[in-house]
């Protein structure tokens, strides 16, 4: 029977505490805001991706091959019909004469009307329409900005010059991240320097179709799938692109969702702590109500109603805020997105966010609320009645616990890429929360057990506050510790990744790479390098080849029965040399540097991972096909290769004396000390040998840095929600404990303690809590950074000592500061006032 009295009583009972209660429950606001923002944005994003999936491909169907389409393929293309457009993509140096600068870019030579769907956006806008007909080039925006290239300047690719028609602001089927890795330059295929394609085989040939006859593209590729495979032609359909974007974005979106959920959980802990104290301060009221005839359910409901009302208020506030935050999300993510995401409110997300907010508030509040049922009316007659401290014996408590645990697990699993990872989240979360809780209990136990009874009064009071009734030790250690953990982990991961880059910076490692050097060019290019007084750190020949057979079984036979793996089908760029480099070591067999001229079978060395993928070991035979010529080899050794080391690394290394007469190109590594030297070298080499490509690795490093900083911006953006929630929980917890201690502070003051003594007692309490929370949180963050570096990034663990020490100082400082700011009013109130009215 929903008694109207319950609502009336709830309203009256909350008098004088509404602002406090609102503050306690405001810890939900930020979490709900994050959740609503992310999920509303996510549903918009998915809708946009669905709506504009054709733009993502720019066509209805795209064929793609590593070599020009053969005759039978061309015949098939003819019979397919539709509108067609061709693209050839390959890396090449682009030289901008105006500033004498050059950059390795991905050239995309276009023939026809690609893209068929979506619009190219350029500056100036007119360039998008006219560039192809005018024979101009469209250039990556970042490169134009970097080199200060203006429309009308020219760019040279290979031997030809093109007027720069404009800057690419948006290109269907591409996103900003691609441009970081490899900036684009679009040129008309009609004016392509075909000598750029004659060497090497790095070009990618694409054919885009547009069908206006409503053809079933999926059925079409289904029909000719086998033929395409034989021709080594890959294809992309709108449906596939949409699916893969959907999958990628869903994963991103789920990750962000989990991060937001952690903020909600943290808020839930704040709620539980606050309601616990709230209920304790209502003990007398509850006992009176019971005495006057209120049933257990009625009394319980009076407080449940207050909690839910406040939870609702903070969830609604959070949801509104979330809509505002949603406008910021695209700013944080724009570089990763293929399409513009317009701002729309997703009502479903709004509802789900609010429901979750109220649900989590209610669920976490239940932990302290269930104890209301056991508050005895006898409390009105004597204040000494023990209220059952042992919630753990209450079956209802365990039911609440079960519901919360199930809820968290369900959410994690639903938002993880796989159930295993979802359970992993839960385990990690449990471990973090568990450790912090154990720390809190340990502090309470140790402070009591080893109470320093001979310390000064202030220290004793401060320490005793840690374990006295209504202490905030659990809540504060949890929220502060979690905050320290999240920040520490972020810093640690960043440090670990950056440390890797610094290694290559610090040592005498190559930072400039010259490649696509023809055999007749290697000597003069080497002389140019030496003429600039730069070291030649490595100069290796590279031969491209494919596998023809493995242990007598041909790769085409394996393709036919689908046993061929990617390792069988791929193109191998191999080198030959008679020495091992610093970044590799033999783990099995014997490395043979020089081939026996009488033995037709060459002893090669394989990377151990590729050997595993090919399922071969020492002594197995591999036959390679180099431009039609078959070369038999046997596996003589397996190497462990440190791929992350800058330098030249190879899956397959031939001995000297086998490949010397086969078409090949050279790669030369050098090191420059500054950007000027690098630019000078590029100018000198490209002046004489335009087809040689030069990569300035320091540019690559700064690119990597840019990418990393974008990613870490996103991660920090999300983490800030957790941190903000942590701060609110902290403020809430401090305020609660202040209210608890207020009476006592006033009593102390009445008994003659000075203001500074009262404040020093608080400082001791918060200093301890802040310090131990930070210590535990940071220790946990070490563990998580270690796990990330071992299992995700595959690097060695590098703790960020400086950040750790700073955090170790900052967290206690912040805690004390918030505590003192919050209690500044206490001392100004008249003791009589507080003692009379405090309740």
């Amino acid at each position: 029977m929903p008694n109207p009295w319950i609502f009336r009583m709830a309203w009256r009972d909350s008098r004088g505490s509404r602002r406090q209660l609102a503050l306690f429950l405001s810890s939900m606001i930020v979490g709900v805001a994050a959740l609503v923002a992310i999920s509303s944005f996510g549903s918009n994003l998915r809708k946009v991706v669905d709506d504009e999936s054709k733009t993502l491909l720019g066509a209805d169907l795209v064929f793609e091959s590593g070599r020009p389409f053969g005759e039978t393929m061309e015949a098939a293309i003819d019979s397919i019909g539709g509108a067609q457009s061709r693209l050839i993509s390959f890396p090449s140096m682009a030289w901008f004469p105006a500033g004498e600068q050059s950059r390795l870019m991905t050239v995309r030579a276009v023939e026809g009307k690609f893209p068929f769907y979506g619009d190219i956006e350029t500056t100036p806008a007119s360039a998008a329409d006219g560039w192809l007909a005018d024979g101009g080039a469209l250039v990556d925006a970042a490169v134009m900005r970097l080199f200060n290239v203006q429309p009308g300047d020219s760019v040279r690719i290979g031997r030809y010059f093109y007027p720069v028609a404009g800057r690419i602001d948006r290109m269907p089927s591409e996103n900003q991240m691609m441009s970081f890795f490899s900036p684009r330059v679009y040129i008309p295929a009609a004016r392509l320097d075909s000598t750029l394609l004659s060497r090497g085989s790095q070009a990618d040939y694409e054919l885009a179709f547009r069908f206006d006859d409503g053809r079933d593209v999926e059925a079409l590729v289904e029909n000719i799938g086998l033929f395409l495979r034989e021709e080594e032609v890959r294809y992309d359909t709108v449906e596939e692109v949409r699916e893969s974007w959907d999958e990628g974005l869903t994963n991103l979106y789920r990750f962000l969702n989990v991060v937001a959920f952690v903020a909600v959980l943290l808020g839930g802990i704040g709620v539980a702590g606050a309601i616990h104290v709230y209920v304790r301060r209502r003990l007398a009221t509850i006992a009176v109500l019971r005495c006057l005839g209120a049933g257990t359910r009625q009394t319980f409901s009076v407080y449940a109603v207050q909690t839910i009302a406040m939870g609702l208020a903070s969830s609604v506030t959070g949801a509104m805020l979330g809509i505002g935050v949603q406008m910021l999300v695209p700013v944080a993510l724009s570089d990763f997105l293929p399409v513009d995401v317009p701002f729309m409110v997703s009502w479903g997300s709004l509802g789900a966010g609010m429901t979750l907010g109220v649900g989590v508030t209610a669920a976490f509040a239940l932990f302290p609320l269930v104890s209301i049922r056991r508050i005895s009316p006898l409390l009105t007659l004597r204040s000494t009645v023990e209220i059952g401290q042992t919630s753990l014996k209450d079956p209802l408590w365990w039911i609440v616990f079960g519901v919360v645990a199930t809820g968290i697990t369900t959410f994690s699993v639903a938002n993880a890429p796989s159930p295993g990872i979802g359970l992993g989240y839960v385990v990690a979360l449990t471990a973090v929360f568990g450790t912090l809780l154990v720390t809190a209990k340990g502090i309470i136990w140790a402070a009591r057990r080893f109470f320093p009874s001979r310390w000064s009064y202030i220290w004793r009071q401060g320490l005793a506050n840690l374990f006295r009734p209504d202490n905030q030790t659990n809540t504060l250690i949890l929220s502060l510790g979690l905050g320290a953990f999240i920040i520490g982990t972020l810093f640690g991961i960043q440090r670990t990744l950056l440390a890797q880059l610094e290694v290559s910076e610090a040592r005498q490692l190559p930072n400039i790479v010259l490649f696509d050097i023809q055999p007749d060019e290697i000597d003069p290019v080497t002389r140019i390098v030496q003429g600039k007084e730069l070291p030649v750190l490595d100069s290796v020949p590279i031969v491209s080849m494919r596998l023809a057979s493995v242990n007598g079984r041909t790769v085409s036979a394996m393709r036919a029965d689908s046993t061929a793996t990617w390792a069988h089908r791929r193109e191998y760029r191999v080198t030959y040399r008679d020495y091992l480099t610093e970044s590799e070591k033999v783990v099995e067999g014997v490395f043979i540097g020089e081939a026996d001229p009488n033995d037709p079978v060459a002893p090669v060395s394989l990377d151990q991972d590729i050997a595993r993928d090919l399922d071969v070991g020492i002594g197995d035979s591999l036959t390679f096909n180099v431009q039609g010529q078959l070369i038999p080899t046997r596996v003589a050794s397996l190497r462990e290769v440190e791929w992350r080391r800058m330098g030249t690394n190879f899956f397959v290394v031939f001995p000297a004396g086998v490949l010397e007469n086969i078409p090949r190109f050279y790669v030369l590594l050098s090191r420059t000390e500054n950007g000027e030297q690098a630019a000078g070298l590029q100018r000198a080499v490209l002046g004489g040998y335009p087809s040689v490509s030069v990569i300035d690795l320091s540019l690559v490093l700064s690119t990597f840095d840019t990418i990393f900083s974008r990613i870490s911006f996103v991660v920090r953006f999300m983490a800030s929600f957790s941190i903000l929630t942590g701060v609110i929980v902290l403020i809430g917890a401090v305020v609660v404990s202040r209210v608890q201690r207020r009476r006592e502070s006033v009593l102390l003051k009445t008994l003659g303690a000075s203001q500074s003594e009262v404040l020093r007692i608080m400082t001791v309490e918060y200093l301890f809590l802040g310090f131990f929370a930070a210590l535990t949180g940071l220790a946990l963050s070490f563990a998580s950074v270690w796990a990330f570096s071992a299992f995700v990034f595959d690097t060695s663990f590098r703790p960020d000592v400086v950040a750790t020490l700073v955090l170790l100082g900052a967290v206690p400082f912040l805690t004390v500061a918030i505590g003192l700011v919050n209690s500044r009013g206490i001392y100004r109130r008249s003791p009589l006032d507080v003692l009379r009215t405090d309740m």
Binding site: A287, L289, C291, G293, A294, G295, L378, T380, L381
Partner: protein
């Protein structure tokens, strides 16, 4: 039939540490409807314990309490609460007003819980009767001890209980104020015809009831009528 409260062989034992402490020994007595009775005895003799058991706030170790014809020991917590709401009024030594409720709202609580019509009229009438007609919208913190106790007297009578329990109602008040409060209790009780079980140290106060039960060490040492 005529007894509102019937206590039989009531024993209450507390476990303190590993020692058993028997606070009430085999206590039996009956209270008729409308009868007033004082329980007196030194501090620690078990008076409050007895009151708590009679009102169904606590459970007996053995023996039984029948209140208004209902056997308390057999009832659930919620059934006890309903019984208290219907049949019992309380006046406490420490007033026990709810701090977040105004005087009027405090008085209304039992009536509202019962779901009665017009609790506001009844409550303000009672507050008028105890002389607080002007202070209805004040909160407990704004009232003196004596005023708070008057509010709690008004609250005790709001549901026209058949049985009133009072545990040292003047214990926290100065003598003069205490005297006025006593007057008030007896006056209203008389007009309402409510049975009264009053715990007190005060002999004068005890003399004004119809009957005095003396407790010592958890035993009834005497049970005498004051007026024939």
């Amino acid at each position: 039939m005529a007894s509102i409260l019937s206590v039989r062989n009531l024993t209450k034992t507390y476990q303190s540490g590993n020692r058993l402490l028997t606070v009430l020994h085999d206590v039996s007595f009956d209270l008729r409807r409308g009868e007033t009775c004082a329980v007196v005895g030194p501090s620690g003799s078990g008076k409050t314990t007895l009151l708590g058991l009679c009102a169904g706030l606590d459970r007996a170790t053995s023996g039984s309490v029948d209140l208004s014809g209902e056997r308390l020991g057999a009832m659930s917590e919620d059934a006890l609460a309903r019984l208290r709401n219907r049949e019992v009024g309380f006046i406490f030594q420490t007033f026990q007003l709810i701090p977040t409720l105004t005087a009027l709202e405090n008085v209304m609580v039992p009536a509202e819980l019962r779901g009665q019509k017009g609790p506001r009229e009844r409550a303000s009438e009672l507050l008028d009767q105890v002389g607080l007609g002007e202070r209805m919208s004040h909160y407990p913190a704004q009232l003196s001890g004596g005023e708070q106790q008057r509010v709690s007297i008004a609250r005790a009578f709001v549901n026209r209980p058949a049985m009133l329990f009072a545990d040292e109602p003047t214990g926290n008040l100065d003598t003069d104020t205490g005297a006025t409060i006593e007057e008030l209790v007896f006056e209203i009780n008389e007009t309402a015809g409510t049975a009264l079980l009053l715990v007190t140290h005060n002999h004068e106060l005890a003399q004004r009831t119809g009957r005095i039960i003396r407790l010592r060490g958890g035993n009834i040492v005497s049970d005498t009528l004051t007026r024939a």
